[in-house]
Symmetry: C2
Subunit: 280 residues, 2 copies
Amino acid sequence: MTDGNTTPADLSLNQKTLNNSSLPEVVDECLTAGVPAVGLWREPVHEVGVREAARLVKSAGLRVSSLCRGGFLTADTPERRREAIAENRRALEEAAELEAPCLVLVVGGLPEGSKDLAAARRGVAEALAELAPLAEHYGVRLALEPLHPMYCADRAVLSTLDQALELAEPFPVEQVGVVVDTFHVWWDPRLFEQIERAGSRIASYQVCDWLTPLPADVLLGRGMMGDGHIDFAPIDTAVRRTGYSGDVEVEIFNEDVWSRPAREVVETTVDRYRRLVHPR
Amino acid sequence: MTDGNTTPADLSLNQKTLNNSSLPEVVDECLTAGVPAVGLWREPVHEVGVREAARLVKSAGLRVSSLCRGGFLTADTPERRREAIAENRRALEEAAELEAPCLVLVVGGLPEGSKDLAAARRGVAEALAELAPLAEHYGVRLALEPLHPMYCADRAVLSTLDQALELAEPFPVEQVGVVVDTFHVWWDPRLFEQIERAGSRIASYQVCDWLTPLPADVLLGRGMMGDGHIDFAPIDTAVRRTGYSGDVEVEIFNEDVWSRPAREVVETTVDRYRRLVHPR
């Protein structure tokens, strides 16, 4: 708690925000601060084991807001595609065991040596057709995450909310949704109309700030809200106007944040969330 | 000349590609290689003087494909806006003296301390209304350049071709056009439909490649065609299909390229252009 107010009831702390903490430590910090939900990543979950992670989170009374991540669906050989589908099936199974409502999909960049962006994008659509029934089976929604266009070559050929919605719309809304992550979409001149279009397709909503200058490792430019250039409140209002009632996940990748004590980071997160993301 | 073939008749060497060469040296390299056009920047032009630069280029028989750059139109005080308009008027005057068909506009990022992206974008539209009659007066077209979304905060709130066309379309086509720069737009899922929509609005067409990993200074990620991830030929075909008949400017910002001998860089440029950008 901060300023004597209660911690927001829809705030979720993505465990990557406390990158140097184990899952039990992250759970403890959530309990201490009154944060009611947590976003999980597969690798640190595997470190404690999926069953133990599920038990830990559940016994602490925390919700799991999402599991990161599936995806990497742009492989250009049949064998690698089969491997990717199998890996995503395992991720869905883990998400189900963790009672995560969605599995975040980072779709993958251009295959090694390929410059065929259109083909890579078609590959994602084809893989999605295989994954959607699995999502139904496991009761976990696939959450297509548009990544910032600067990651198009090497991480995600899915670059805008518009494009994510085109991919999602052929499937039932409970099988395939999209992620609105402020870092990735804040620049988009059509952001607000695409959020409105997304409506009930928003499966996950993540916040963090855009810092300048970008750090040398551009994966680590995800800053604490208020430290960068994003005006959060209008985006937050637009997302809620769609009827979104899930958690708001704070996911920060940033060496400065990671070097600070976990307690301080969580307190700052709660404070910034309340002042900048969803002020009342 | 390379491989015994003539140098392409529509190739333009942007002088920034030879960043360590003076304008007279750039002109010499163009003559040696048979490159018929050159893209100029205001700062190195000022070093030799605008009149002398115009004389140099003209007496060498080179076309000027564009002048970089005007813009920086997002200032949020009346005084700074007036200064920006005055600066752009000077740039248009220089472009006219250099017989450049267009002045490339990098519109500017968020004003210092501001997070109001929508207001900054409105400011660009308002400034454009003041600049368009000046463009008419000087007989130089304003070329709105969408920059890659990773520059949205600090360099250009104009992020897509779609957005550039919305800004340009209220004005006569000879006053306001757009730039298609492969580095900035290659990732756009709507690229090909927007190029088609652009039609005669394409005032400048620039090529260079997208490298990964991005260098620590993200301004220097503009690589030699073929060294990165962009598939140029389909973009080139789409641009020409609009009827574009201007020059194709190669503009590379890259420490590796800049450290090589100018002659070698120009030869590589001609070779890569012929093999990758506009193969016949």
